[in-house]
Every structure is written in C-alpha cells, then in structure tokens.
Symmetry: C2
Subunit: 209 residues, 2 copies
C-alpha cells in the first residue's frame, strides 16, 4: 500500500509516518518510483506498536528507539534481548549522588529480593526503583522496612507467573516474544494501575458512610 | 528554622523552596523580620511530600497543585476529598475524538467492572485507562476481551483490601487520610511496578536455558 493508505489503516498522520521513517523507527518501504514506496502489514503493525509505546507507555522517541532496535537486531540471544528490552522500558533512574538513606534502603531491598528467592540481576533498574519507594516512605516519617511491600510482592509474583503461563512458548519466533514483553510491560502494567485505582475506589466506597 | 535550615533538613535547594513558596505549594512561614521567616516541621513535611510527588510520582507542578489544594481545603467531606485527590493523581486521558473501537472497549470495560461488583464512579479516569489498554491489545491484532485482565483485577482487589486493612481508620484526621491516599497511589504503585518487573525477570530466568 502507499503511504497515504498506511496512514489511513493505522490512524497515524502521514507527516508522523514520514518522521518515524526519517528517525529509523519504521523500516523503509519497497521503492516503486523515485518518490513512492510500497508498505505492507509489517509496517502497519510496527506503526501500531510505536503508538502503543507512545500513547499507553507514554515513552518518548529516545526511549522507544532502543526497544525497536532490539526487535530488529537478529544477533542477540533471545533471553538477553528480552532483558535488554525490559530494562529499556524501565523509568530512567534519578541522577545525582546517592544519599546515605538511599544506600541503606538499597541494601534492605537487596536482602528482601534474596528472601523472596527471586533471580534478579544486580543492575536491574527495578531494584533502585523499589529502594526509592522505601526511602520516600521513610522521608515522610514512616518507620518501615521492605516487609511493607509483601502484599505487593505476592501479587506481582502471581501476575508474572500467570503471564508466563499464557505467553508464547520459549521456542516461539523472537519477534513474537519481544513484542509480548513490550506489550506485557506497557499495556498490562497500565491495565494493572487502572484496576488498582478502581479497586481502591471500591474499597473506599465500601467504607464511606 | 530559617529557610537555609529548612533546605538542609529536606535536601531541597533554597531557590526551589522559594519557588514552591511563590507558587503556593508550600505555605508561608511566620514572618520574623522584613526579609526573614520561620519554618517548622509542617513545612519540612510538606516539602518532602512535594518531592515524593515529583520524584516518585513524576508529576509536574500543575498536577501537584490540586492535590495539595485538596490537603489544605477544610470544606470538602473527607470521602469526596479522597476521591478528588485520587482522580487528580490519575494520568491525564488522551484528548481528541473517541474512535469507534475505543467506545466499544469502554462498554466492555464497564460491563467487566459491573461483573466484578466494584463500586466505581462512571467518570473515574481509570475506566478510560483500562479501555485504552484493551484497544491497544486489539489494535495489535489480539482478539481479546476484558477477561484477559482477570488475573490483574484479582491482584488489584487483594492489594486494595490489604491497603485498607493497614490504613488509618475512617475517623483519623483528614490530613493523615489524604496523605495516605497520596502515598498509596504514588509510592506503593511505583513499588508494585518495580516488583512486577522483578517478578517478570525472575520468571524469565526460570525459563531460560
């Protein structure tokens, strides 16, 4: 199909499609004339994926780029690739020096993850994110340890296990596996946040006069 | 304490403290001289809360403002106030016309929430957010209904119930209740996201050769 048809099929305006082409997020079409190219279903699918990352994941181009580069890179082993993509989707860590209370919270988190028996890379951005959450609680005057996160860890463990039961098998095409990680991280995380807010509203309604 | 001491106690630079004062996010201190004011523990606490909303919640000033206004407003009934604060913390909805597939997804979500038996306002931003997630899955070619969210809804229900068990009682001071909603929404949501990513990495490690 032509670029105008691609635009119509995906709801992405032509200038935006051209921008993604220039930025290398969308692979070029097959040239059919000096100023015309042909696009197929792969292009439409890629455009829809970019829009999910942008609209649901609220990621900027600079954070979308490495994810798509991972999808297009045939050289990495699949497990390494999936890890790379998951880390690329993590919120960027705070910059700047690490305060003493953050170092302490990080040690608490590392111990907590060990106790859960979870196999998580030392460099996983989520370790720092959890330490940030613990520091925030403490700076607000709450005298809490990482045990305060136990109900969340249990829920997260259940969800991750159910995701892997319904996900593609380990020998599925790597594109399919990577997209599944992307969608799981961005779309289902957004769904979980929405459901948690509704469940909190429901609990609040139950308790209000 | 003086503004320099307030800055030191909270780690917020003096120019930033002055900015929050000008913007009305931080209540003024007690004037002690023509160009000097005295600040107390309430000011330090408010500054730490602003930093949590900014650093952990990644909220801009314009989204922090109504939350703090809610905290300072003594006129709303507590239940209304808590709902207002929770909605103010929700990610802003996409603007623009509602596509036909989104309207359909929204009807699916409304039915799903009914079936869960949850009491959730029709105008809750989370309904739209969940419909957005469902539309994203469908636009990526997955033929799914809202039932795909069941494991997430179960987890969310458990978490919300446990939060309300450990939260302040219904007759606690309203400041305490509002702050608890703020912290629950921002800090624990961030913790849940971090834990989910670690649980996913763990599951992935379990299955990789």
């Amino acid at each position: 199909m032509r670029i105008s048809e691609l635009s119509e099929a995906t709801g992405v305006p032509v200038p935006t499609v051209k921008y993604y082409l220039r930025e290398g997020l969308l692979m070029p079409g097959t040239r059919t004339a000096s100023n015309q190219a042909d696009y197929g279903p792969d292009h439409a699918h890629r455009l829809r994926l970019i829009r999910v990352l942008r609209d649901v994941g609220r990621l900027g181009i600079e954070r979308i780029r490495p994810v798509l580069a991972g999808l297009d890179d045939g050289s990495l082993p699949t497990h390494r690739l999936l890890g790379m993509v998951a880390y690329a989707l993590a919120p960027p860590a705070e910059q700047g020096p690490v305060a003493a209370d953050l170092a302490l919270a990080r040690a608490d988190v590392d111990r907590f993850v060990d106790e859960l028996g979870w196999v998580v890379n030392d460099g996983a951005p989520a370790r720092r994110a959890l330490a940030d959450a613990l520091v925030s609680l403490r700076r607000l005057g709450r005298d809490v340890g990482p045990e305060v996160f136990v109900p969340y860890a249990k829920a997260a463990g259940r969800i991750a296990a159910s995701e892997f039961r319904t996900g593609p098998p380990a020998d599925a095409p790597r594109d399919e596996q990577v997209e599944w990680v992307v969608v799981g991280t961005v779309v289902f995380e957004s769904a979980l946040r929405a459901l948690l807010r509704m469940a909190q509203e429901h609990q609040s309604a139950l308790r209000s006069p």
